[in-house]
């Protein structure tokens, strides 16, 4: 039963990805009925700008999920990188050589995550949760509560600029989407991760370097989260100790909503990008409904569930299976 569902997902994957994009476009079109200014170029620009950061974190998270693991430390890695960027790069002299130790720390954190998970077999959510606590403790100790420095001028200018009528975060989104797609679906590394995620034992017997690949996935994830932190500092003009907290759950949600299996082995990065844009669109539209904040959250949660149930074939079939079992039981009882 399970393998059948699995292959179904893989077959339907591209159709699903196209569906996410079409749904988003339809939503933007329909939103004209909520606010007349919706459907405009300005709205689409705003949505893409807001999606760009989630898309970048979700790239690393997606690779880790592809190998069948999870990275719960991305939120704190974003904060770590943001704080170090403002303290080491934004302290006035803007010595960009200081970016080297920042990236070294990011790679080390990713390496430790991967090493703990792959070599020491520590469950990934424990390992990465512990790592995020350690990181947070270090930041709190180092900054004594308030990060010094500010956003490096260059970064701030870069994030606030417009090229050919488009704000720069949109270019970030496009570059990341293309790079992520190639990395995940067109390189050997990406395919290796997929094989590891779908059957780790088989991968091991096929002489695939399982440990090394998982460590790579975590290192890429740490760098993606780190870049997000840097961009976020440029985008917001400074860093705080909860800079990255809002990005952890969206990074996982977009990957899953984008068609990847949370158990690993399948996924398409373009789906993730589509899901990020879709979720931002939904939240933008809901906010414009002018209903109370509580109901906004309820609708947001329901939208995610409805989309998943209707168009993720595996989940839909599982639900049908459950309902069938329930109705036969009822009949038997009658």
């Amino acid at each position: 039963m399970k393998p059948a569902i699995q292959s179904e997902v893989n077959k339907g994957l591209n159709r699903y990805v196209v569906f996410v994009y079409i749904l988003t476009i339809v939503l933007i079109f329909l939103s004209k009925y909520i606010s007349p200014s919706f459907g405009s170029f300005a709205q689409i620009k705003a949505i893409l700008v807001l999606s760009s950061l989630t898309v970048l974190v979700a790239l690393g998270q997606g690779l880790v999920i592809l190998t069948g693991e999870l990275d719960l430390s991305v939120g704190k890695i974003i904060t770590l990188s943001g704080v170090l960027t403002s303290m080491w790069l934004g302290n006035g002299d803007e010595n960009w050589l200081m970016a080297i130790p920042i990236f070294a720390i990011l790679l080390l954190v990713g390496f430790l995550n991967g090493y703990g998970v792959a070599a020491l077999k520590i469950p990934s959510f424990i390992m990465t949760l512990a790592m995020s606590m350690i990181i947070y403790g270090c930041i709190l100790g180092y900054t004594k509560g308030t990060p010094d420095g500010m956003s490096p001028r260059l970064l701030e200018k870069l994030m606030a600029s417009n090229w050919f009528g488009l704000p720069s975060p949109i270019y970030v989104l496009i570059v990341v989407a293309i790079a992520g797609y190639f990395l995940q679906s067109r390189t050997k590394l990406g395919r290796t991760m997929q094989v590891i995620g779908s059957n780790r034992t088989a991968a091991h017997y096929a002489a695939i370097p399982v440990k090394r690949t998982i460590i790579f996935a975590y290192m890429i994830s740490a760098v993606c989260a780190g870049l997000t932190g840097m961009i976020l500092v440029g985008y917001s003009g400074g860093s705080t100790l909860n800079l990255g907290d809002a990005y952890l759950l969206p990074s996982i949600a977009t990957v899953v909503l984008g068609g990847a299996a949370i158990s690993g082995g399948s996924g398409n990065y373009l789906g993730t990008v589509g899901a990020a844009i879709f979720l931002t669109t939904v939240s933008t539209i809901i906010q414009a409904l002018g209903i109370s904040i509580g109901w906004q959250n309820v609708i947001y949660g329901l939208m995610i569930l409805v989309v998943l149930i209707l168009y993720r074939k595996d989940i839909y079939q599982m639900l049908q299976h459950q309902l069938r079992g329930w109705s036969t039981k009822k009949q038997e009882a009658a």
Binding site: I34, S35, S37, F38, S40, A42, Q43, K45, A46, I47, V49, L50, S86, M87, G92, I105, L108, V109, F111, L112, Y115, G116, A119, L120, I134, C138, L140, G141, Y142, K144, G145, T146, G149, M150, A160, N162, P167, L232, Y235, S236, G237, G238, T240, L241, N242, L243, A246, S283, T284, I285, Q287, A288, G290, I293
Partner: protein, 435 residues
């Protein structure tokens, strides 16, 4: 593999920690250098005060605890630094032993922290309370032991503690009236709120709505919780701007600088924004006023902690008696309209200046750390690093500045009657345009 692997893992973990410690070492090294220089100037000024004839003999120091909720935003740190700087300013440096405890966002932790402070023989506790009601029984315990309890900014209902706060000073209704005046009673606005369910957010929001509801021409087209955070305010404002590009004004709680950034990012024309005290906002008010950013800056001042600490010290030393200090003390609302923003040259609010150049502090720095009447001892360095201002001694509080705040049940008292009008306008700051 396992033993070798484990060794390697432990080794690399140690490496990580060492890396951080060396990094910390660097920064604390520099700050040590700073504080030692601060120390020398401090001893210099202490000698000066001795010469001045205060001639304090060595007696038992008062044991005072500073209990914070969470640490990690500019406001909380500045407030704590102000208390630390005052405790090091002569003659308090010879009279007080100050210990700082961070309780986090968990009210149970703060309760147990208070208990250990009481057990340790504290003379006084100055604190940012996490909850107005949950600390009730531990505060009663403290009072029974003769511990003086002072709360700043956030309040408690227990009447044996003292609240020093701007919460009753009407931030919501006064900024809202200003907003209405600028729009001549007509227009679409956004409301960027704080943390949902928080008493401060409710007071500010209800205060603002009490004004907006009087003007049928004012339409609140979007309302969102931004948790007093710049990035969240920016994100939410971007979303709201996509739906309502024809918005005429924004009423924001702390995090207001994010709203300005959102306007800039979308290339939207500048519109009037009201907000709290961030340096970024004040500078923006100055720089973009002629483009249409006509707003007012007024909100929660970190200097409240310093005012609370000084009243507490004067009670400990007997300069103020119990009957002179009410349970609820009001801190005046900072109020800086766009045409009064002036950038400071030094590190104090002098000659009417009320903001700092952008290369001196982060945009999120909360400017209201100064008050020439209540805490003249504080400089920018005090707020940023907890250092005393060289050459400064503690100035007595003018008694007429200790003003009783109105009672608000559930927020700063329990069995009490609220005033008839919970949200009165301060007519010295703003008058309705149509009256």
């Amino acid at each position: 593999m396992s033993i070798k692997a484990r060794k390697l893992f432990v080794l690399s973990m140690i490496m990580l920690i060492v890396l951080f410690i060396t990094a910390c070492g660097n920064s604390s090294g520099s700050s040590n250098g700073g504080s030692s220089s601060g120390g020398s100037s401090q001893s210099g000024s202490a000698a000066g005060s001795d010469g001045g004839g205060s001639g304090s003999e060595t007696k038992k120091k008062f044991k005072v605890y500073l209990s914070l909720s969470y640490s990690g935003n500019a406001w909380q740190n500045e407030a704590a630094n102000i208390v630390e700087a005052l405790a090091k300013t002569p003659p308090y440096d010879e009279m007080v032993e100050l210990k700082k405890v961070i309780s986090g966002a968990d009210v149970q932790k703060q309760i147990s922290d208070y208990q250990s402070m009481i057990a340790d023989g504290a003379d006084a506790i100055i604190s940012f309370p996490i909850s107005p009601t949950a600390l009730d029984s531990v505060i009663t315990q403290a009072c029974e032991q003769g511990v003086l309890m002072f709360m700043y900014d956030a309040t408690v209902t227990n009447e044996c503690a003292y609240n020093v706060s701007y919460i009753t000073a009407g931030q919501g209704q006064n900024t809202a009236q200003w907003r209405v005046n600028q729009l001549q009673g007509k227009g679409k606005i956004f409301m960027s709120r704080g943390v949902s369910g928080n008493a401060v957010d409710i007071m500010q929001y209800e205060g603002a709505m009490s004004v907006f509801n009087r003007y049928p021409g004012i339409e609140v087209v979007a309302e969102y919780y931004s948790d007093w955070d710049d990035v969240k305010t920016k994100t939410n404002t971007l979303k709201a701007l996509a739906a309502h590009p024809d918005v005429d004004g924004i009423w924001a709680e702390a995090g207001e600088y994010g709203a300005i950034q959102a306007l800039q990012q979308t290339g939207h024309k500048m519109i009037p924004v009201t907000g709290e005290n961030s340096n970024g906002f004040r500078l923006a008010l100055k720089n973009y006023a002629n483009e249409g950013l006509t707003g007012v800056s007024g909100g929660s001042p970190p200097a409240t902690s310093g005012f609370a600490f000084k009243i507490m010290m004067e009670m400990l030393t007997g300069q103020l008696s119990k009957d002179e200090v009410p349970h609820n003390i009001e801190y005046p609302l900072p109020w800086v309209p766009y045409d009064q923003v002036t950038v400071c040259e030094g590190s104090m609010f002098e000659n009417g200046c009320n903001a700092f150049p952008e290369d001196k502090v982060q945009t999120s720095f909360v400017t209201e750390v100064f008050n020439k009447d209540l805490v003249p001892e504080i400089s920018l360095e005090s707020a940023l690093e907890g250092k005393p201002t060289p050459g400064m001694t503690i100035q007595p509080i003018p008694k007429e500045m200790i003003k009783q705040a109105p009672d608000i049940p559930g927020i700063n008292c329990t069995n009490c009657n609220p005033p008839e009008d919970l949200y009165p306008l301060n007519l010295e700051l703003v008058r309705p345009f149509d009256q």
